[in-house]
Symmetry: C2
Subunit: 230 residues, 2 copies
């Protein structure tokens, strides 16, 4: 793995006895608005990254707007991995070791208050800043690719054909250290102003979640879905 | 509404009889990878923006990585609106009329192929490039704020207290024209290579969707949820 930026100023509290490692707060991860919604707890950050199926990666677009591109991701320890075609614009950009911002957002609920102003959304989001690093070590690359597959369904790598040399050549894997990151979370009911409490309006939440349906076997496949997907 | 960039080089086909307006393709919206997944049909772009509850906004971070921040959005005609606290970093940045990239992603399914390489995700995403414009016209600002509320539930603005002067002052609304945009969509079953078809592995999809649950009334509210939320 290339190390484009060995001298990062951010670091994870590394006490091995401290299971709730705290990420260092930097100027750009410090939550100024509603800081009570923020968390720098690595376990909280990791759990949100693990639950999200896609992330949005921001990288510079020269003198114009940055690009924000969605892609699947997987976390292994304190590193986030994404992959893609070696020919893609994003992968070619990231492979150059640029600084990126990776954001994931989980929506948990719609929040209805008595006032329009206090309507909101319950969410859990994570923002990671870091330098994209091309994963060149073959074993590390394969481990990340397997983890991306297993994130869709546990142990799926054991239930499909692994990548061959040509496919590995056509695929790039990029790593981003999860060192400069923060989570932001809103949870719970609406918070109305005291003078609005008697207004004749309903207040509450409507939970939302990404739900998985029943597997649908491909028309050209004559076997049933594995037990862990049914 | 400020018009920071009247001389845009992109435009929507404006034949009023053409209900399927096509967005002009620009260098940065042209889909080079898997162009068959792309669409520049305004109706397709609008439908994806309308279904998504949150977008991810990318804006420059000076010499370092861009910021990618999630927020709710709403579309009215060919304009996308976001709002936030006048005090927030993002809103202050956007109000300066900077170029931004707004991306939304809907996940529709997990795609399991016989080969690891052809595993994928069914998705519908939209990327919009444009110049953020502070909405200064009071009526346009109020219309966007109402639409943001009504996106959570139709006609909710009629069932809550509207914003007062103080709340309007504390809130900024930003508009982005949906002129330079493209959609990218993957749909359907896995596509395996011919030589993998006989492998003893299941192939198919697992549909996923953002599902709304039953409303939960706030503990301090003594009325039941409105009919259209039950």
């Amino acid at each position: 793995m290339t190390r484009a930026n060995e001298t990062r100023q951010t670091s994870v509290t590394s006490d091995p006895n401290d299971s709730a490692a705290t990420l260092a707060i930097t100027d750009r991860t410090k939550l100024r608005r509603l800081p009570k919604r923020g968390s720098y707890d690595a376990a909280v950050v990791h759990a949100i990254l693990d639950e999200a199926l896609v992330c949005h990666i921001g990288f510079a677009g020269g003198e114009r707007a940055p690009f924000v591109i969605p892609t699947t991701h997987v976390r292994i320890d304190d590193c986030l991995y994404v992959h893609g075609s070696a020919a893609s614009h994003m992968l070619r950009s990231l492979a150059e070791g640029v600084e990126i911002c990776v954001t994931v957002t989980l929506i948990d609920g719609l929040v209805f208050a008595r006032s329009a102003f206090h309507h909101s959304v319950n969410y859990r989001s994570v923002v990671v800043f870091g330098t994209a690093m091309l994963v060149e070590d073959a074993a590390a690359k394969r481990r990340a690719l397997d983890a991306l597959i297993d994130k869709l369904s546990p142990n799926r790598t054991a239930a499909c054909r692994g990548p061959n040399e040509k496919e590995l050549l056509a695929t790039k894997v990029i790593a981003v250290p999860i060192l400069e990151a923060s989570a932001k979370i809103r949870t719970g009911p609406p918070i109305d102003d005291a003078e609005d409490m008697a207004l004749p309006y309903w207040a509450g939440i409507v939970p939302v979640q990404l739900a998985r349906g029943l597997p649908r076997t491909a028309a050209d496949c004559d076997r049933g879905p594995p037990a862990d997907l049914r």
